[in-house]
Structures are given as C-alpha cells and as structure tokens.
Symmetry: C2
Subunit: 227 residues, 2 copies
C-alpha cells in the first residue's frame, strides 16, 4: 500500500440484486430512477457508501430506503469498476445479491417506485446494471449446483413438488421429476414426515422437512448436484 494518497478518488457505491420466487417464476426487484442520468429508466436499488458504514451496511440501507425491504440476507457478488459505467463521474460499485422469500414479494414494497419484474420482463437497465444482473443470476444458478437450497425459502413442511418448482424457477427450465427426486434424496438432508398435505384439491402429497444439521453441514461442505 502506498504511503500517501494524493490522487482524486473514485466514488464508491453499492448495488443490490434481490431475487424472489413468485408464482413459479424468478423475479428481481427494480427501482425507477427519478433524475438524470437514465431518468425514468429502471435500475437496481443502490447508492453511495457513506464514511460511517461498511459496504454491506450501505447496501442494506439503500435497499430499505429505496424499496422498503429489510432483514434481507445479502451476499457480496462482485465489485464493478469499468471506467465508463457512470456518465457523471468515476463510480466503483460493490454489487450484492440475495434470494428472499415469496412473502416479501406478495407484501409489496413501501417504496412507490420499486417493483418486482419477472426475469423475462426486465427492461434494459440503467448504468451497467444489465451486466450486474446477469452475473448475479449466474452466481445464483451456479450455487444451486454445489449447495442445497430451500431452507430459507420453503415453508417448514413442504412437498417434493414444491421443492422441484423452486429449483425450476431458479434454473429457468423444467427438470425431470424422477431424476430430481432421486438426486435430492441422495443428499440425505430431507426427512420424510408421516404427514400428508391437506386442504388441496388434488391428491395430497407427502410432506417433507429439511434435516437442519445435515443441511447446514452440506452448505459448508458443498457437493455436486447434477441436475
């Protein structure tokens, strides 16, 4: 590290890619910009980092201010620093991403300018946000291959069909039912309950829950989920 710092410094920002699954589709939370540049365009929620906060704290604050969402478990994605990404001045952005419960979608947001978009309906975004969204999506889809997923997203008791639809929504494609079930059961993190669904119009399916300790262990250890 240099000992003095006399250069003008880039501004530092954060951006947030928040995904949720709603009606079987992966959605992303966007805000409509009010001012230039990119006025009235849609963008990822985000903003500048203040001196008294970490980048994680800045991301959570901006998300709360701009979308009303709170208590989101954000993970750092990547820091974007290309020279032309903001027409105003040099801005480096630390991007974050999260996958939240569908309840957060149905509840809507406090911010009138924030809206959930199905991936297929995302308009061209401001700044380099298309690229940030693409990387977040790749990261999420990659993660499904080496970590189990669903613990924070499904109700405590769920059917294998619900679990499969969760994966299908994230991966954006249909999965073979038998292969999916076989591969998932092999992980050893599902507990078959002596209970069936009720209040359903179709034939009730068996309920499962995650074996919490095994699930956590597998998150840590990783695996290769060939789906």
């Amino acid at each position: 590290m240099s000992h003095t710092y006399e250069f003008p410094r880039p501004a530092l920002a954060v951006d947030c890619v928040v995904f949720a699954i709603d009606e079987g589709a992966l959605k992303v939370l966007l805000v409509q910009r009010g001012a230039e540049p990119f006025a009235s365009d849609w963008a990822l929620p985000g903003g500048f980092v203040r001196l008294e906060e970490t980048t994680d704290q800045a991301a959570l604050r901006e998300l709360r201010e701009e979308t009303g969402l709170s208590q989101v478990f954000l993970e750092q994605l990547y820091t974007f620093s290309s020279l032309e990404r903001d027409p105003r001045e040099r801005v480096v952005s630390v991007a974050h991403y999260a996958l939240v419960r569908p309840a957060a979608v149905q509840g809507g947001t406090d911010a009138s300018q924030a809206r959930w978009f199905a991936l297929s309906e995302v308009p061209p975004l401001a700044f380099d946000h298309d690229g940030i969204l693409t990387m977040a999506l790749e990261r999420l889809r990659g993660k499904v291959r080496y970590q189990p997923l669903g613990f924070e997203l499904l109700p405590p008791k769920f059917t294998l069909g619900q679990l499969q639809r969760l994966y299908e929504a994230i991966l954006g494609r249909e999965l073979d039912k038998r292969n999916f079930r076989r591969a998932f059961l092999r992980m050893g993190i599902l507990e078959e309950l002596d209970e069936m669904q009720d209040n359903v119009s179709h034939r009730p399916s068996r309920l499962y829950r995650f074996h919490r300790a095994e699930y956590k262990r597998l998150v840590k250890r990783g695996f290769n989920f060939e789906i």
Copy 2:
C-alpha cells in the same frame, strides 16, 4: 442510486494475494512497509486506485511496482470495508488473488522489499491483511474441490507424483496416493503418454499431459473432487 452525492467518500484501494508453489510448499508474496502506519511490518502488495484505472488494472500496477511481478492472472476475491481497517482514514480495499508458476518464485522479484514466505512462516500482517490472506487461502482450497488445477502450473508433460504434490502443497496435507490417482483419472482430463521421465535418479515414472479441451470444459462445468 442516489442522484446527488454530497458525503465525504472512502478511499478505494486494492490488495493482492499472490500464491506460488515452491519446493512442495505454498508460498505467498509479501512486501515490507517503509512508512507508518505499520512501518516495517509485512503486508500484501497493494495501493490506492487511480481515477483512470479499473480495480484489476490498479492491482496489476501495484503488483508490478511493488514486487516486479507482471502478467499475473489475478481474480477478484472480495471487497473489504470494515470501518477500522486503516488507522489513517476510511479505506475500502478490493482484494485479488492469484496462483502463479514456481518460476516466478525462483526468478525472485525486482523489488528489494518483496519476499516469498512459506505459509507457516508468515508473520502477523499489517492492516486486516491476515484476514484477507485467510480468505484467499480458503478460496484457493475451495476451488480445488470443484475445478481442475494444474494446467498453468505444471510443465506440459508431468508425472502423477508431480500432480499430487501440487495438490498437497495447496491443501497443506498429504493425500492418499491411490485415492488421488483414481479420483483424478476419473475426471477424464489426463492423457497418458507413451513416454517416461528421463534424467531422474529414481525409477522413471510415466508422463501425462492434460487433455486441453476436456480440461477447459471441466473448468467451466465444475465437478466435485472428493479428496
């Protein structure tokens, strides 16, 4: 993103964790600091980001200036932003990491203040660099589990013993020879040559080379290497 930016801004820096394997041990490249803070302590090479460069470019420039290393393939690791990480002022650092060929170690560095340290001999580092090094090591060791490794690090023709020692140096533990070979051969990226080592004092071993296309495919696709 906010529309105006009136707050004082954090400084933006980069740091580089450069690993190499030398004499069967994983080593890391450090520089000794000349000035306060942490004067005479060892630290990761790094420095402040200039307005006209990306964070990747800043990392390569600092690495060249401080250690003489060039043409290193750096990957972004994580952005560190805790409030107290630099006693001078608020500095956010985008950390990078790389694993380079042993030749880079033997060649030494141009910078008199730069030195390679075996992991077991790394002194307490300046700033939060111990934490950055720990995360880089976890990332490198994690990567071995889902990507093949060795293409850029071994000579074009190598023995299975050399390959195993590379993995052992990175993982910091001995591996079972039969299990390692079986697991590695199963990847389908090794081509057995009709050639043996020469100029060795022990019984010559068979030479192998990587099947380039399959190797690249596996880097992209990922797998689970249970070692």
